[in-house]
Symmetry: C2
Subunit: 308 residues, 2 copies
Amino acid sequence: MTNPVFERIAIIGIGLIGSSIARAAVEKGAVGAVSIFDANTDALARAGELGLGETHASAAEAVTDADAVFLCVPVGAMGRAGEAAAAMKAGAVLTDVGSVKGAVVADVAALAPEGVHFVPGHPIAGTEKSGPDAGFPSLFEGRWCILTPLADKGAEYDAAAERLAEFWRRLGSTVEVMTPERHDLVLAITSHLPHLIAYNICATAHDMESVTEGEVVKFSAAGFRDFTRIAASDPTMWRDVFLNNRDAVLEALGRFEDDLTALRKAIRNGDGQTLFDLFTHSRGIRQSILDAGQDTTAPNFGRDKPKG
Amino acid sequence: MTNPVFERIAIIGIGLIGSSIARAAVEKGAVGAVSIFDANTDALARAGELGLGETHASAAEAVTDADAVFLCVPVGAMGRAGEAAAAMKAGAVLTDVGSVKGAVVADVAALAPEGVHFVPGHPIAGTEKSGPDAGFPSLFEGRWCILTPLADKGAEYDAAAERLAEFWRRLGSTVEVMTPERHDLVLAITSHLPHLIAYNICATAHDMESVTEGEVVKFSAAGFRDFTRIAASDPTMWRDVFLNNRDAVLEALGRFEDDLTALRKAIRNGDGQTLFDLFTHSRGIRQSILDAGQDTTAPNFGRDKPKG
């Protein structure tokens, strides 16, 4: 067995991501011990029952002896969760898993006391499920983890960031470094806009009063059901994403609407060639994702396996 | 073994759906023999190699002895494929699998000679793959098949429609009857709009010049990849759907855009409560789809299975 990367980590917020980190870190031998706090007492109790680590009655108590602290709460709750950093020991790493980085840096960076190294992060992994029961140890395998380290913080900070990167690699992820601004723009396209659109099409389906929801559900396998998976993700988490990455999301949304206007025009004008060319190009993007190993090649995501 | 529903069927167009019907009908004993024609000679030759049935050099030759003829071509090609109906025998059933029903009725109904019963259909089943190799016999199991029989055609017609319904049930589907207009409205919401939006978000991702396509692909697991599956569907088929169900699609699209305007306003105004309520409702729709058995309950569609 290789040595743990951190003797003890503390996880603040033991939902899907937090509980997956706890499970993965122990399974891969990346840590010696796990301390846990969650402001939701039910989640905290459940984490104890699941044996995910040592539960604590306060965030300050959980982080005191930790060599790395992971803030695994919705983006809008990072500032409050980050207040526990005051109780961290010198030399420890403070990080987070938020889907927005600029806003989290703004809310948390100033909370890290002298000697505590705040290295923002975002594992590009998850499912549409929530809570401590939803996590599993292989969640991060073969996935990307983006770190957005602060600039010009010195050699000790850089070493701390590298230690965190090593932790994520131990969990099976490939680490990518970029600025918070770049992260927020890239994720606005690859994640935030798709979730927004998925939520919106659910609203439209609901609004179509001439078609009952029963029929929408009944015939959802015709395409609609694909959108509902990500639209089932945690509402609090996603509310906070949109409130905290507003500019980049509105920019991506504006472009989406421009494209939609052009597409509507092609349909209205009966412009089959434009439609065909666009649809052919989309097929190419799908193939690129498959070639990059970022999705299953099985038809229908493999969920309707040929039984015959 | 129960008796076949039809002694011989003919399949015009041996792609994903046509080849799945051929495979399923033989496997379930729903037919005695299968005749095949495809205007694409490569597809026709491949169907022969795969042993899907007896291949013919013309549609007229393929349909001559058939008790039921299935038009399995893109909606825009139904009229031309339907011309073969002139060679069908009296008492036989003519049907199709098109994703639009009003336009197909307009193009095909008049082509059925006296004594041939045209019963339009649409199996709500498929994958994002195309061609004779993409089909599989269990494709229709546990799925809906919508029939839109013509009105007031008499007892012999009704018996033919019932025989076709029995065929689909034998393939594992549940048959639902509605008018072509109703079908086109319901599918505009559950299928055509989702495909349109999926194609559009692929276009937006491509257009965002400040973000390279490489990064969109790389971080696609954050949400975007879910949309690319249905956007990889056959471009010709989908061009024809949008050209032939234009009014219902534009109506659904208009409502989608209205909803998007409201959502954008909530983001711009920082209206977290509206976002939270909408996202919570979407979760409920997903649950309804799972309760109805129309999707897998496994996280991430089961494609990222916990290995640990």
